[in-house]
């Protein structure tokens, strides 16, 4: 019986299948293609301006050619540090609450709130930090930028922490509790330890996500053409510097803006590669 197939129909079906797989492959390529184009173009235009001076020198005064973005690179790292001081403890502890303590109703509202916060336009975070820090301190500062970015990190880290903690099988919690280990030690030394790679991954991805934020820094960190010696002073940040240089009328600044964009995307890429490296082996806790 198997030989009596309608050949015309069979051919049409093969053709449809072929078309669909080509279309879906093309879509998959379209997803990755922008990354390739962006990287290619940034390297083509920006790589020429990325040299030793770019990493070691301050911006030159208007009219002089050369200089670098050393202060903005350091400033970006400083702001990531400040933001993490707020975002990591609050986000991780919030995730622990959601996963280990909260009741169903409370959790629903907290998750709902966190998901809305994740969707808040980043410039709104800038306004929040402006109202909370810039106005009382009577000036732009690294603190204000750190607060704006830190607030953005909280819901991101909270949700990823919650998710990885929920992946830890309940049997481990029960086993530890049944040994007479106090609950907080069970959470910190068994549950969080089992999921530590996932928590670190969440933190790094949140850092990568906010590293390129410009809008919340416009009227908080503000930017600075010199080294910032006090965190209560305005501070240079890569995305702000790129923005300022890109809208300037000078060719040399344009080239440096491309270089800055290249360095920024390489930083983000490095974090992502680091995450891949961390998660290369599956979390041991999630496999059972």
């Amino acid at each position: 019986m198997t030989m009596r197939v309608n050949l015309a129909y069979h051919r049409w079906r093969k053709l449809k299948s072929g078309i669909m797989s080509v279309v879906s492959f093309a879509s998959a390529v379209l997803v990755v293609a922008p990354l390739g184009f962006v990287l290619f173009y940034l390297i083509k235009v920006g790589a020429g301006a990325v040299d030793w001076r770019f990493f070691t020198q301050l911006p030159k005064p208007v009219g002089e050619v050369g200089g670098g973005m050393a202060n903005a690179i350091v400033g970006t790292l400083v702001l990531l540090g400040l933001a993490s001081l707020i975002g990591v403890p609050v986000g991780v502890l919030g995730g622990v609450y959601l996963s280990e303590y909260g009741g169903e109703k409370v959790n629903w509202w907290i998750r709902f709130g966190a998901d809305i916060l994740n969707g808040v336009p980043s410039i709104v975070w800038g306004i929040v930090a402006y109202a909370l820090v810039v106005i009382p301190m009577k000036g732009f500062s690294a603190y204000a930028g750190g607060v704006a970015l830190g607030f953005m990190m909280i819901p991101l880290i909270m949700r990823t922490t919650e998710e990885v903690l929920l992946l830890v099988p309940n049997g481990y919690r029960e086993a530890a509790l049944a040994l007479g280990v106090p609950r907080w030690k069970v959470i910190v030394l068994i549950v969080m330890k089992t999921a530590v790679k996932g928590i670190v991954t969440g933190v790094l991805l949140a850092a990568a996500r906010i590293a390129g934020e410009t809008a919340p820094l416009l009227f908080t960190a503000f930017g600075n053409r010199f080294w910032t010696h006090k965190l209560s002073d305005p501070i240079a940040v890569l995305p702000l510097q790129i923005f300022t240089y890109a809208i300037s009328p000078y060719d040399d600044w344009h080239r440096q803006a491309w270089a800055g964009a290249l360095v920024l995307i390489l930083m983000v890429l490095a974090i992502n590669v680091g995450v891949r490296f961390l998660t290369r082996e599956r979390f041991s806790g999630a496999e059972r």
């Binding site: 280990v181 041991s284 806790g285």
Partner: protein
Amino acid sequence: MTPNLLEKQREDRGERSHRSLNLGGALAAQTTPERPAEAGAANKSAQVAFLVNHLNAWFHQLEALSNVTLQIPATAVTAIIGPSGCGKSTFLRCLNRMHELVRGARLEGEIRLFGENIYGPQVDATLVRRRVGMVFQKSNPFPTMTIAENVTVGLRLNGIRHRALLAERVEKALQMAALWEEVKDRLDKPGLSLSGGQQQRLCIARALAVQPDVLLMDEPASALDPIATMKIEELIQQLKKEYTIVIVTHNMQQAARCSDYTAFFYMGRLIELDRTEKMFTNPGNKQTEDYVTGRFG
């Protein structure tokens, strides 16, 4: 804090005092629901491990146990049998205060462990759990820890750092769990590198390392092959010389093979508790007879 719990803390610092419980033969506790246990009978508390009085347990509105009254003799194996959903696991989890950890779970009644009310207002649940160890259906060694670390985790997380003491407890607990010969040369390998049956014995060693008075086992062999099951059952026979063991099992042959007493639960009630031979040959209750002869359940 009650004297026994204070004693427990002292023991944990390595000054184990002589435990004041009778290690002799178990008494014939022919307790049935019609004859409630006598609370606070001092002469009995030497031989009765658990004295349960009018225990009721709920999950939200669902009543999982109703009016359970029984005695569990010390240094003997008591099996709890019954069909799925009869409340046998819930009962077990009431004995080490694990029941209350489930959201919406609550209970009423009294449970005394060697005379002490474990639900008393001053009693810390974590200290109760250190006296009443538990082994679960699914073996669950901690994935981040080595074999040795898995054994000592209960001690280490309660602040014991003394290396010699920890090493001594590792060997002792693994020997009691009949695992020492198989793992003594690879104590620093991950706990998860062991086979399923070995993992379950590792979990037993982990529970024994904190030197509990009682060991609760919730279907400890139901996920194991017959040979690993046999090893666990042999182990139970060894352990009952020193420990009070309460084992929940689906497997009636297992209950008949390895227990001294058997309690039959049905629909959240204790139907009958008696010596195992009697339960399986000449039970006092028709429902028990129907169940053990395979007529239902």
